[in-house]
Symmetry: C2
Subunit: 488 residues, 2 copies
C-alpha cells in the first residue's frame, strides 16, 4: 500500500479548504455554519461533505473567567446548551450538538499568567496550546512535557477534561498527574480544585474533572507542574525478536523502576509499515533488513525509547539494557530514535493525506494488565482480519504502567470501508472489553465510547456521576449531547 507524503496543516482541511479556523471573524462564522466538529471519522466526513448543523446558534470567545461565567449565564437565560471548544481535536465525538447551542471557544484565553520556577509551577489560561507553553518555558530553561499527537492544536483546558495522555506520559505522567490546581466555571458556581502540593483535606476531585469532557463546566485556568529541561535526552531504536518478548521486557523495566520517558513498541505489522515509510527508496530498507536478519530479529518488533535525565542517565540505561538484552532485544541506535523524534506528530497529517487519497484511516486504543496484553491485541487483530481482507491493521504499545500498558491500533482500508465504520467500531470495542481491556485509554468517552460507560463505571459509579452532574449543572446545559449519550 503506497503511503503519500505529509501534506499541509490538517486542521485547515478539517474545517474545509482555505478556511483557517483561527483567523478573524470569518472563521467564527464558518464554525457557526459548519457546526461543532472534532476529528473523528464521522466529523471529517461531515466537513468534507459540507454537512450543516442547524443547532449551532453562535460562537463566543471569552477572554477571562468572568467572560466564561457570563457566557454560560447568558446561554442559560436564552435556553441554549453550551459546547466548550478548545482545539477541536476530539476523535470521539466530544463536539456534538443535541440542542440549540452556543460554542464557547476558549482559544482567545491564551495567556500565560504567572510562574514560579522555585515551586516548579506555571499558571496558565486554558486556551493556551502545547507548543505555546513549551516555547515559553523552553526559553526559560523549563519544560512541561505533555505531547499527545493532537499537540499542535489541542488546548490545555481540553487535556484537563479528557484524561489526556501524551507520548512522554510513561516518564512525566498523564496530563492530570501534572495539574496542581484547576478552576472550573460551572453553571452552579466557580469551582477551584487542588492544594499544592498535596492534602488529606477531603476528596481530590481532579479525578472527576479530568473526565468531565465539558459536561460539568469550563476550565478557565490551571496551575501546572513544570520541570527544568533535562541536561540529557537520548532517543534510540531497538528491535525485539517477538511481540511477547517486548511485552516481557517492558514489564520488567516498569517493575524495576527503569521505564524510559518514551517506550513505544510496534507489533510486526506496524514495524513493517514503519520500514516501508521510512525507507521507500529500497536501498536503506535493504540494509536495515540485512542487519536485522544478521541479528536474528528479521520481522521483529520496533522499540522506540527516549531517556531524559542528568549524569545518572548512562547508568540507568545500562541497567535497563541488561533487562532488554535478557529478552533478546537488540540495539538499532540513535538514528532510528531521531527519525521517530522528527516524525512524532506526523500521524494526523498523514491520516488526512490518506483520506484525501481515498483511504479510510482510524485509530482506537485500550489498556490492560501485562498478562492480558497479548491476548487483547490478538483478539482485536483476529476480529479485524475477519472483517475485510483489504483492511491493514497495526498495533503499538504507547504508555507503560507498573501493572500493565496501553495498546494503540491503526486501521487502513479503502474508503468504502468507512461506510460501515460505526458498526465495526462497536464490534471491535465489544471485543476489546470482552478481552479485559478498557474501551479507551486516552481518547476519552465522547459520544463514540458512551455505550460502554455503564459497564466500566458500574451502577453505583453511574449514580455518583449523575449526582455530581446534578450539583454542578442542575439544568443540564453543559455539552448535553455527550452527557445524554452517557446516560443511555
Amino acid at each position: 500500500m503506497p503511503l503519500p507524503e505529509r501534506t499541509a496543516a490538517f486542521l485547515h482541511k478539517a474545517v474545509g479548504p482555505g478556511v483557517p479556523i483561527r483567523e478573524g471573524h470569518d472563521s467564527d462564522a464558518r464554525v457557526a455554519h459548519q457546526g461543532p466538529r472534532g476529528m473523528a471519522w464521522h466529523d471529517l466526513c461531515d466537513v468534507r461533505m459540507g454537512v450543516d448543523d442547524p443547532l449551532l446558534v453562535d460562537v463566543v470567545f471569552p477572554e477571562s473567567l468572568d467572560d466564561v461565567v457570563a457566557a454560560i449565564r447568558r446561554a442559560e437565560q436564552q435556553g441554549r446548551a453550551v459546547i466548550p471548544r478548545g482545539g477541536g481535536t476530539s476523535v470521539v465525538g466530544g463536539l456534538t450538538a443535541a440542542d440549540p447551542s452556543t460554542i464557547i471557544d476558549m482559544t482567545h484565553m491564551n495567556h500565560i499568567l504567572d510562574w514560579s520556577p522555585s515551586d516548579g509551577v506555571v499558571h496558565v489560561q486554558s486556551g493556551v496550546t502545547g507548543p505555546q507553553l513549551e516555547q515559553w518555558l523552553h526559553e526559560r530553561g523549563y519544560m512541561f512535557g505533555h505531547l499527545p499527537q493532537s499537540w499542535e492544536q489541542a488546548t490545555l483546558g481540553g487535556y484537563a477534561v479528557t484524561s489526556s495522555a501524551g507520548q512522554v506520559s510513561s516518564g512525566v505522567g498523564r496530563f492530570h498527574d501534572n495539574v496542581v490546581q484547576v478552576t472550573l466555571a460551572t453553571p452552579h458556581g466557580v469551582w477551584t480544585i487542588g492544594h499544592n502540593p498535596a492534602t488529606a483535606m477531603g476528596p481530590d476531585f481532579m479525578g472527576v474533572v479530568r473526565a468531565s469532557e465539558g459536561t460539568l463546566g469550563i476550565v478557565s485556568d490551571l496551575v501546572l507542574r513544570i520541570r527544568p529541561r533535562p541536561s540529557r535526552i537520548h532517543s534510540e531504536g531497538a528491535l525485539s525478536p517477538t511481540w511477547q518478548a517486548a511485552i516481557n521486557a517492558a514489564r520488567d523495566l516498569a517493575h524495576a523502576g527503569l521505564t524510559p520517558h518514551v517506550l513505544r513498541i510496534s507489533d510486526q505489522e506496524e514495524t513493517r509499515g514503519t520500514w516501508a515509510m521510512s525507507f521507500p527508496a529500497g536501498i536503506k530498507g535493504s540494509l536495515v533488513n540485512a542487519y536485522c536478519a544478521m541479528r536474528g530479529v528479521s520481522d521483529g518488533c520496533l522499540v522506540i525509547m527516549q531517556w531524559q535525565g542528568g549524569s545518572e542517565l548512562p547508568a540507568k540505561r545500562r541497567a535497563a539494557w541488561k533487562i532488554l538484552n535478557s529478552h533478546g532485544i537488540v540495539r538499532l541506535g540513535r538514528g532510528v530514535g531521531r527519525s521517530w523524534e522528527k516524525h512524532r506528530f506526523a500521524g494526523p497529517y498523514l491520516r488526512d493525506s490518506l483520506i484525501d487519497a481515498g483511504y479510510f484511516v482510524e485509530t482506537f486504543e485500550t489498556a490492560t494488565s501485562w498478562t492480558q496484553l497479548a491476548h487483547a491485541r490478538e483478539t482485536v487483530m483476529e476480529e479485524v482480519a475477519r472483517l475485510d481482507a483489504r483492511v491493514y491493521a497495526m498495533t503499538h504499545i504507547s504508555h507503560v504502567y507498573a501493572t500493565g500498558a496501553s495498546l494503540y491500533f491503526t486501521i487502513l482500508a479503502p474508503s468504502t470501508f468507512g461506510e460501515h465504520w460505526s458498526e465495526v467500531k462497536t464490534h471491535l470495542t465489544d471485543a476489546i472489553v470482552s478481552s479485559g481491556g478498557t474501551a479507551t485509554h486516552h481518547h476519552g468517552v465522547g459520544t463514540v465510547h458512551a455505550p460502554w460507560l455503564r459497564q466500566e463505571l458500574g451502577e453505583q459509579g453511574m449514580d455518583v456521576w449523575r449526582a455530581i452532574k446534578g450539583s454542578c449543572d442542575p439544568e443540564g446545559i453543559m455539552n448535553p449531547a455527550v452527557w445524554r449519550a452517557w446516560q443511555r
Copy 2:
C-alpha cells in the same frame, strides 16, 4: 527534658492495661464497653480515665463482602449508625459515635486472596495489616512499601479511605497511588472502582473514596500494586548547615527527579532532640558534636535518606550528592541511617511512655509549596513559643513532592498543657492555613480537622461532596459523627 525508654505495645495501653484488642470475645466486649476510640489526645485521655460511651451498641466482625453488606443492612433496619473500624489508629477523631452505633470491625477480614507477580498486583481483604502483607510478599521476593507510623496496627482498608501517606511515599507514592482496584460496600450498593492499569472511561473515583473516612461505605477488598524487592537499599544520614539549605536541596532533588525513597529533614530543634535520644550517655554525643563542628555544621539539620534500586543506584546517589554538596550538606554515613531504620516505628510507643510519665505529646502536620515552607514552619513555631514557655516543639519534612513538601510538627509539654489542647489546636491550625498550608497532609480530616474542610474544598466542592454522599448513603448512617462535623 529526660525521655523514657520505649515501652510495651502502645495499642494495649490505648484500650486499657492488660486488655489486648485482638484476642477473643473479651476484647469485643471491651471495645463495646469503651466506645469507638482512635489515638488522638482526647481518645487516649478518655481511655485512661475509663470514660464510657453509651452510644455504642454492638460490635460485629464480618468475614466477607456479603457479611459487610448484611451488617450494614441490619444496622440500617435497626436504626443504628455504622462506624467502620480497622486498626483504630485514627489521630483525628475518625472513630467517634454520635448516634446509637454498630462498630463493623474489619480485623477478621485479614486474608490475602490472590496475586500475580507478572501483573505486579496482590488482591487482599481490607483488614490485612501492613506487617502481614509485607511478610507474605517478602517471602515471595516482593514488597508493598506503605510504612506510616501506624504501620504495626493500621489496616489496608483504613489507609484506603484516609489519604494515607507513609515514610517511603516520596519513593513509592501515597497509598492511593498504589490502589489498582477497590470494592466499597455502601448502603446503596456495592461499588467497584478502578481499571487496571489506566483508563479514560469516566471519572477516577479513587480520589473520592480515598478521603471518605467511613462516611460512604466500607472497603471490603483491594487490588494493590506490588514491587519486586530492590536489590539495593542504602540508608544514610547527612547534616545541613541550615533549614533553608535543606529545603533548597530537597527542592532541587525533586526537580531533577533524584528524590530518594525516604527524605526526612529535621529542623534544628528536632535534630537536637534526636541527638539527645540517640546518645544519652554523653560520650558519643560529644563525638558527633565535635565532628559536626569540624564540618562547619554544628547545630545543623539532620537529613535522613533511604535509596532503593538496582545497579543504577550508585550513579543516582552520586548525581544527588552533587546537589546536596552544592547546598553545603555533609555526609554522616550509614550508621545514622541504620539507627533511623531501627527506630522508625518507635514514635507512637515513645509518645505512650511520655504520656504515662506525665507529658503531653501531640503531632500535627501540613504541606505547602517550596517557597512557603520556611514561612509556614516559622509561623507555627512562633505561635507555639507564644503559648507556653514550657512547650518544646520540633519539625521535620516527611514527604517530598515536585512542587512542595509536608511539615510534621511534634509538641512536648507538661501534661497540664493538654487541658487546653483543643483550643490550642484550633489556634495552630488557623495559623497553618493562614500561612498557605493545608490543615492536614496525611492524618486525615476526622472530627478534629472538620472546621477547615469548607475553606479548603470551597462551596462547590462541599456541594459535590454532599451529592456523592447522598448517592452512596441516602439515610446518612455511615460514620455520622464525622460526616456531620464536616457539614458544620
